[in-house]
Symmetry: C2
Subunit: 252 residues, 2 copies
C-alpha cells in the first residue's frame, strides 16, 4: 500500500494528479473498512446500526459549517455561488428540510430519540474529535486544501451504491423511507465533487500544492476511517463502550 507522501515529488500533469487522487480513494476510502463490510454483509446488530447513525449525525451536522468556512475564505463570487449549494442541500429551506433532517430521520427510523441524536451528547468522543478536526482543517489550512478535503465525495456514490441495496436486503427493519437521505446524495455528490475536482486540478499548479491536495484527501480518508474504527471498537466487541456514551438497549 502506498502512503502517497511523495506522490507529487517531481510534479504531476493534471491527468496524473487526478489518477493519484483516485488511487487514494481506491486504497483509503472507508468502503474498505471492516465496519462497512459488516454493514453490507448484514452482520451489524441493530445497536451497532443505531450507533453508526447517531455518531455519523455529528459529521452530517458539521458539513454546512465547514462549507460555510470555505465560503468565508473564498474571494471569488462565482466559486461561492457554486459552493453555497452544498449548504442549501444540507440545511434545506428552513434548516430542517435538507440532508441533516434526512439523516435525523434515518436515525429516528432506527429507533433513536431525535433530541438525543441532535444533542450529540451520546456520541463517541473519538467522533467529536474527528469532526472537530475536519472543521479545524477547513478553518486553518489553505483554501485549496480545504476544497481538496471534500474530494471523498468522488467516491461516495460507490459506497452508497454498496450500502443502500445491502441494507434493504439484509435488515428487515430498514426501509426505503429509512434511507431517504441517500436518494439525492449521489447526484449532489457528483455535481459537487466534479466542481471541486476541476478546481483542485486547476489550482494545484506546483509540486508542493499537488502534494498538499493529495495529503488533504488522505487526511479526510483517515478521518472517515477513524470514525468507523471508533464504532468498531466501542460496539463491535463487548465491553469497550466509553463512559457516558450511547449504550444500545440491552447492553449493560
Amino acid at each position: 500500500m502506498s502512503d502517497f507522501r511523495d506522490a507529487a515529488r517531481n510534479g504531476l500533469s493534471t491527468a496524473e494528479l487526478e489518477t493519484v487522487l483516485r488511487e487514494v480513494g481506491a486504497e483509503r476510502y472507508h468502503n474498505r473498512h471492516p465496519y462497512h463490510h459488516r454493514m453490507t454483509g448484514g452482520d451489524l446488530s441493530k445497536g451497532e446500526l443505531q450507533a453508526w447513525a447517531l455518531n455519523r449525525y455529528c459529521y452530517q451536522a458539521v458539513i454546512p459549517r465547514k462549507d460555510a468556512m470555505i465560503l468565508a475564505r473564498a474571494e471569488d463570487p462565482a466559486f461561492r455561488a457554486q459552493w453555497r449549494k452544498r449548504i442549501e442541500d444540507h440545511d434545506g429551506e428552513d434548516g430542517w428540510s435538507g440532508g441533516i433532517a434526512r439523516w435525523l430521520h434515518l436515525a429516528t427510523s432506527l429507533g433513536l430519540d431525535a433530541e438525543a441524536v441532535k444533542s450529540e451528547r451520546l456520541a463517541l468522543p473519538a467522533t467529536r474529535f474527528a469532526v472537530g478536526a475536519y472543521l479545524s482543517f477547513c478553518t486553518n489550512r489553505p483554501l485549496l486544501d480545504a476544497v481538496a478535503s471534500s474530494l471523498t465525495e468522488l467516491f461516495s456514490p460507490i459506497i452508497i451504491g454498496e450500502r443502500v441495496p445491502a441494507m434493504l436486503a439484509r435488515y428487515d427493519y430498514v426501509t426505503e423511507d429509512t434511507l431517504a437521505y441517500f436518494t439525492r446524495r449521489p447526484e449532489q455528490a457528483s455535481r459537487d465533487s466534479g466542481f471541486a475536482l476541476a478546481y483542485v486540478l486547476k489550482h494545484a499548479d506546483t509540486a508542493e500544492r499537488q502534494q498538499a491536495v493529495i495529503d488533504a484527501l488522505v487526511f479526510k480518508c483517515d478521518l472517515l476511517w477513524a470514525m468507523l474504527d471508533a464504532l468498531q471498537h466501542a460496539y463491535g466487541e463487548a465491553g469497550n463502550i466509553p463512559p457516558g456514551t450511547f449504550r444500545p438497549e440491552g447492553v449493560r
Copy 2:
C-alpha cells in the same frame, strides 16, 4: 456511573466542587482503562508499548503549545508567571532538555527511531484528532475551562505510581533510564495542579461556570480515554492497524 452533566445544577460550595472534580477523576481518568491495566499487568507486547510511546509523543509535544495558548489568553501577569513554568518544564532550556526530550528518550529506549517519532507521521489519526481537540479547546473555550481541562494532573501521580513500578517489574527491556520522564512529573504535576485547582475553585463562582469546569475535566478524561481506545483497537487485536500508521516489527 454518573455522567456529571447536572452536577452543579443547584450551585456547589467550593468544597463540593472539589469533591465533584475528584469524583470525575475517580470514575473517568484513564488509569481505569483496560490498556493501562494491560500495561501494568505486563500484558502488552513490545510493539504495543512502542505504539503507546509513539502516539503519546504527539500529546506530549502539544502540551507547551496549549499552555502557550492559555498564557496568551491570561491577562494577569502573576498567573502567567506561574503557568509559564509548565512550558519551561516541557521544553527545557533549549527546547530539547525538558519533558518532551525525556519522552522522546522513552520512545527511543523502546527501540523507536527518534526522527520517526518526532515527525508524528506514523501516529494514529485518532491520536492526532484528540490532540488537536485539546489545542482547539484551549484556544476557543473560556480561559477558566482551559485551565480546568489541565486538572487531570490531579490524578497523574496515581497513574505514574501504578505505571512505573509495574513496568520496571514486568518488562525486562524497560529500565529506570527508560522511564526518566516520570521522575520529575509527580512533583511538577502536584505544583501545577494545586495552582490550577485553586484558580478553578476561586473563579468558578456561578453554577454555570461550575458546570463548565466539570465538563472541561470530563472532556479531558474522555480525550485521554479515547487515545487508549485507539491504541487498543489498532494494536490490541489483530488486523486493525489503520492504513499508513506505525506497524510494529513482524506485524504485516
